[in-house]
């Protein structure tokens, strides 16, 4: 039994285990760091094979949120929660109510949002027991349209701005006209990104396990369909992973032919070693949690009822952050991932701690 000495503990401020006998709730809230503000992070519901798996997952994700919010320049810390259970069977109203009370008991140091297995109606059920909740309101998106809590367009827009900045830094090109981009995954973020890129004149190569999405992109966006197995090694300018994580692993890192890797997927690198290898190979990597921060920026603006224009400006700032990371990476010959981590840490760690 280890919490403090768990490999993923990494100085979490708090880890809360909650149990509710009546509903059968077993949940963990991990609060990694609240130096910059309350810890915002999604609640994931999953039938974990073991408690240890659940704990490792929540600790790893929670820490990631600290880094993401810090570099997104939001007054938020990092946290995450997990419910041990099968969302298709165990997600009853009394369990969601108990989770709402559990979130509330953290006194606002943790703010819950949705994640795998938890959708907006589930959040609304929790919201009857706590006000420390994100993503249950309506708001305007970056284009000023009303929508219901889906931050995908903001995430896609942030990735788009990030690709523009990366292309300018690495290829010296100010426009995307004729740029060849391979997009892996045409979910709501991937498709939205494809639309923006196409509008800017890019040539698209797409893959998805869902054939209908690929057909639609071919028809609407003049994209070229690519087999899912071929997309990573395609000879293009930009490879944009927008599906599962760990797509850049020990094997695939050697076959990437794109000049840049910049996409919306979480945890694109299997290990930090791949960040170093991409640097060696001269491939510019846009750290995933920096370029895909549009979603959390959106959530923050939505929760605070801010204007679509101020949200847009904040999302566009992702480009500036990436440029800063690229310059430091070049200067110190460190992977962009490592530079991003250090930059985030210098923001969320208290000054007196840095000095020690």
């Amino acid at each position: 039994m280890n919490i403090f000495s768990n490999n993923s503990y990494d100085r979490h401020e708090k880890v809360l285990f909650g149990y509710d006998e009546a509903s059968g709730l077993r949940a963990v809230i991990a609060i990694h760091n609240t130096q910059l503000g309350p810890a915002l992070g999604g609640c994931r519901m999953h039938p974990y094979a073991s408690e240890a798996d659940a704990l490792t997952d929540v600790l790893r994700l929670s820490k990631g949120m600290t880094y993401k919010s810090a570099l997104a320049e939001l007054p938020l810390g990092g946290g995450k929660s997990v419910i041990i259970g099968d969302p298709s069977k165990d997600k009853r109203p009394d369990l969601l109510a108990a989770m709402g009370r559990f979130v509330d008991s953290a006194g606002g140091r943790y703010i819950v949002a949705k994640d795998m297995g938890i959708c907006v109606p589930d959040l609304r059920a929790m919201a009857e027991h706590t006000t420390h909740i994100s993503g249950v309101g309506e708001c305007l998106d970056v284009e000023g349209k009303r929508r219901d809590g889906d931050p995908s367009p903001s995430t896609a827009y942030g990735v788009f701005c990030g690709i523009e900045a990366s292309v300018e830094f690495h290829l010296g090109r100010k426009h995307l006209e004729g740029l060849r981009v391979a997009i892996q995954g045409l979910g709501s973020v991937g498709y939205s990104l494809a639309t923006m890129l196409r509008k800017a004149g890019a040539e698209l190569f797409v893959s998805d396990i869902n054939a209908a999405s690929v057909e639609r992109a071919v028809r609407e966006l003049d994209a070229t369909a690519v087999a899912p197995t071929d997309i990573v090694a395609l000879d293009v300018d930009v490879f944009a992973p927008c599906a599962m994580g760990a797509v850049i692993n020990e094997q695939t890192v050697e076959v990437v032919r794109a000049k840049l890797v910049a996409g919306a997927a979480n945890n694109q690198l299997a290990t930090p070693a791949q960040g170093d290898r991409l640097l060696q190979r001269g491939i510019l990597y846009a750290p995933d949690y920096v370029i895909n921060a549009g979603g959390i920026i959106d959530a923050y603006y939505m929760d605070h009822g801010k204007s679509a224009q101020s949200l847009k400006t904040h999302v566009e700032n992702i480009a500036t952050t990436l440029e800063r990371i690229y310059h430091e990476s070049k200067r110190f010959r460190l992977s962009t991932q490592e530079v991003a981590d250090r930059m985030a840490e210098s923001r969320f760690m208290a000054t007196e701690r840095l000095a020690s």
Copy 2:
């Protein structure tokens, strides 16, 4: 790694792990049950050999507090906290401040008090960061004297009343005149109990690892000194354990010659099996957490500024609770420990849970 499936977890509502990098605090707050009120329980500081040891300790102690407060008829639940560290080396102001903040973050569902390794000045240091704290005020004791947070006289008085009730039930004697009582341990509770028993005419046999305490009892209370190894098997009417726990184990349970076991020590039985064995042997056992509840009753009255007379009446009620337990034990042929547990559970479990 197991929390929910830890042997001692037993349906804890919450287990909170807290870490503070600056001070090095590593602490666990266990909240077993808050059905009857906020979870009150001491904070123990100890250089645990492992995290697992710390967790097992806090879970076990926390659960015990639920049972104790429930049977003491207090509007309190059960909780406990541990700080992993050496009180003689690691107890710095910043660590106590961090612990105070950690307690505060539980939002009042946990109320901290002192326990091994944590004294009143330590609590006062925590009190600068939280109001959810017990035992930092001054009050009157059962005899109306002003004192500084030490509940020992109330604990001793409760045990005294409990012995009276037990003697009446089991031996049919209304007075303690000439009763032979063996007291193991002459700490503040043990000595105070000895004084009360002597005043009531009992004949005392005492042991303690501290020779000075024994000499004082011999001199002041006309007690007979007994070797620590002999006290358990002494031929007396009442054996009153007032020192360490697990004094009634698989071996000693066979050699007890007293007709009653009734004392202030915590966790007197090594396992529940010894409760059954005492029943078989016709020895009446006063469940420890019932008879020694004077301390927590005192803490509750002190925190709420209640009168010495109302405190005294509440402590005296321990006798009534014990009588009820003894009658049920006789009726159902269950050990007094088991009857006490079931009685406590019927109080702190919600009715709908009992029904299921």
